[in-house]
């Protein structure tokens, strides 16, 4: 029996790209949420947390409509890049970023908040400009938040099913991620393949989490 591992690689690629995008987008968003005193804050917080409570099919449904080439955003994206957002890897990345957003933003936001303004003001009075403060003081002190955020985002994207099914479908090499592949194997009663892929995913997820908790225990970055 040969096991088709392509869905696993695709899932890993999706999770990797999504996590990277989330790192870049989630950091400023979490920072803004942690530092702002504006009344808009709870609104943004609620929107960010929506994927936690919304069924993936609902999120996927709205994204499908948004991504549709005949719709405003989907059409604009198609014109701009030449690729459609529906039933494509790019579309999956965009959907996954939204779907996993709270898993990156919330740990970051709470570690930024725990840090407070104290170390920042101290660094500023020592002559450190804002970006300098962010990279030399905030980032090392918020390391735990980053590790948690990165791992949760990665793992959450890896286990994604509903949203992918709605916006990505089941195109081998494009959108056929591991959870979809397992679902299809079960549907077609190919339990052996389903077993293998499930076991690989289970083992991988456990290993990643184990690594994270070990690292976290080894290097407890104390915040004051």
């Amino acid at each position: 029996m040969t096991i088709d591992l392509a869905p696993l690689w695709l899932s890993l690629r999706l999770a990797f790209v999504t996590t990277l995008v989330l790192l870049l987008l989630g950091t400023p968003l979490a920072w803004w949420l942690a530092m702002t005193r504006r009344r808009l804050k709870p609104v943004v917080e609620a929107i960010t947390a929506l994927p936690l409570v919304l069924p993936p099919t609902v999120l996927g449904f709205y994204l499908l409509i948004l991504f549709s080439p005949s719709g405003g955003f989907g059409g604009f994206f198609l014109k701009l890049t030449g690729t459609s957002l529906t039933f494509s890897f790019t579309g999956l990345v965009v959907a996954s970023v939204l779907y996993s957003l709270p898993f990156m933003v919330q740990p970051l936001q709470s570690s930024f908040e725990a840090l407070g303004r104290g170390p920042l003001e101290a660094a500023a009075s020592l002559g450190a400009a804002p970006l300098d403060r962010f990279f030399t003081v905030v980032t090392p002190l918020a390391l735990r938040g980053y590790i948690t955020g990165l791992v949760l985002s990665f793992a959450h994207t890896l286990g994604e099913f509903g949203v992918v099914l709605m916006v990505g479908g089941n195109i081998p090499g494009q959108t056929r991620v591991i959870s979809i592949a397992i679902y299809e194997h079960v549907e077609t009663l190919d339990y052996a393949q389903a077993h293998w892929l499930s076991a690989v995913l289970l083992g991988f997820s456990f290993a990643v989490l184990l690594l994270v908790f070990t690292v976290n225990r080894r290097f407890p970055v104390k915040v004051i």
């Binding site: 003001e121 020592l126 002559g127 400009a129 300098d132 030399t136 970055v221 104390k222 915040v223």
Partner: protein, 366 residues
């Protein structure tokens, strides 16, 4: 040097201050907790962009026409909680400041480490330092950013008496040693007496008094801020002699000798003593057969009965210096004290304890 005309709304009142800080020395910003002292420091440092009004320093406008952020003001800030960076060791914290220094005041790491006694701590994690060590590192870190002015926000408030006594003389010495003026916020009168050259008093967001430390400490308004219990005066003198056998030191204050427990300060060096009013006893005749070592004749120059209490404050001129006595109104009546009258002021040697320090100037006698 530093000119302020600012207003900053606070919960209970707004901080409104218009003042020009004199250059050099240590200026104590003194007032009760919550009177807006820290807010004022934060405005000076650039941590309150919302404050209205203007701040300028040596001709540079920091606030008013535009806003110069904290990292471009070159102001050292020592916080009450030290705020060392926990991901760096002591040397790393000092290096952080050194790398970002925008000018060179000639303050070197060796000089700072030596002055603050940090040589044994360089590779320690900041979590393992004691409270006093943390503050010393924090002061060193600020100095190494080559600041044009240092602000200290109750840096010793969280420390025990011993740690405090170790650091106060170092702070008093900073302006002379490193050429950096200091604004020192505190609500403790003994700290004011030990570090300050000038005092600015504050109450409910306003400045209420400005002047040299010895003068300010005699003012009833200032004593009112600190609570009567802490009232007293400052005596400036020179170490005249030591009695090693009895472990006593004699300090000469303009010709009047004061005897106190041994102080490790060389003969000829100037010292500052603080005598609290409640430690001074008055007599109308020179007492004999008494253990009190310091008995000096003087003239009552101010008699201030405190209505509604049992006490009166009596200010006595000893010639070169003033002392204040806090005695009961009943005693004033019984002894027949009046302004202009002669009295003997009795000060137990032990009451000088721990209130003496090498004076700010530390000038050796000629």
């Amino acid at each position: 040097m530093l000119a302020l005309d600012i207003s900053l709304p606070r919960d209970r009142f707004s901080v409104k201050v218009r003042h020009r800080f004199s250059a050099g020395g240590v200026t104590a910003l003194f007032g009760p907790s919550g009177c807006g002292k820290s807010s004022l420091l934060r405005v000076i440092a650039g941590h309150e962009p919302g404050a209205g009004g203007s701040v300028s320093c040596d001709g540079d406008v920091w606030q008013g026409a535009g806003f110069v952020p904290a990292h471009r003001r070159q102001i050292g800030y020592v916080f009450q909680e030290a705020r060392l960076f926990p991901h760096l060791d002591v040397a790393g914290n000092l290096g952080f400041a050194e790398k970002r220094a925008k000018r060179d005041n000639g303050i070197t790491r060796d000089a700072v480490v030596g002055a603050l006694g940090l040589s044994g701590l360089m590779h320690r994690a900041v979590q393992d330092l004691s409270g006093g060590e943390r503050q010393r590192v924090s002061i060193a870190r600020s100095l190494l950013s080559q600041p044009r002015l240092m602000l200290m926000d109750e840096p010793l408030a969280a420390l025990d008496h011993r740690a405090k006594a170790g650091i106060l003389p170092l702070i008093a010495d900073l302006p002379k040693r490193f050429g950096v003026p200091v604004i020192y916020v505190t609500h403790a009168l003994d700290e004011v007496a030990q570090v300050a050259d000038h005092v600015v008093t504050m109450k409910e967001g306003r400045l209420i008094g400005v002047g040299p430390v010895a003068e300010m400490l005699e003012q009833p308004e200032m004593q009112g801020l600190a609570g009567r219990f802490e009232a007293g005066t400052i005596l400036e003198g020179r170490v005249a002699s030591h009695d090693r056998a009895m472990l006593l030191t004699c300090v000469d204050v303009g010709g009047v000798p004061f005897e106190m427990p041994f102080m490790d300060v060389p003969v000829g060096f100037s010292v500052r003593l603080r005598v609290r009013a409640r430690d001074v006893t008055l007599a109308v005749k020179r007492p004999e057969g008494i253990s009190t070592r310091n008995i000096h004749e003087g003239r009552v120059i101010k008699l201030m009965p405190e209505e509604g209490t049992a006490f009166a404050e009596v200010l006595i001129d000893l010639g070169p210096a003033h002392v204040q006595a806090r005695i009961t109104r009943a005693a004033v009546a019984q002894l027949g004290l009046a302004e202009g009258g002669l009295v003997f002021a009795l000060i137990k040697s032990v009451s000088f304890d721990r209130r003496a320090l090498p004076g700010v100037k530390n000038v050796a006698a000629v």
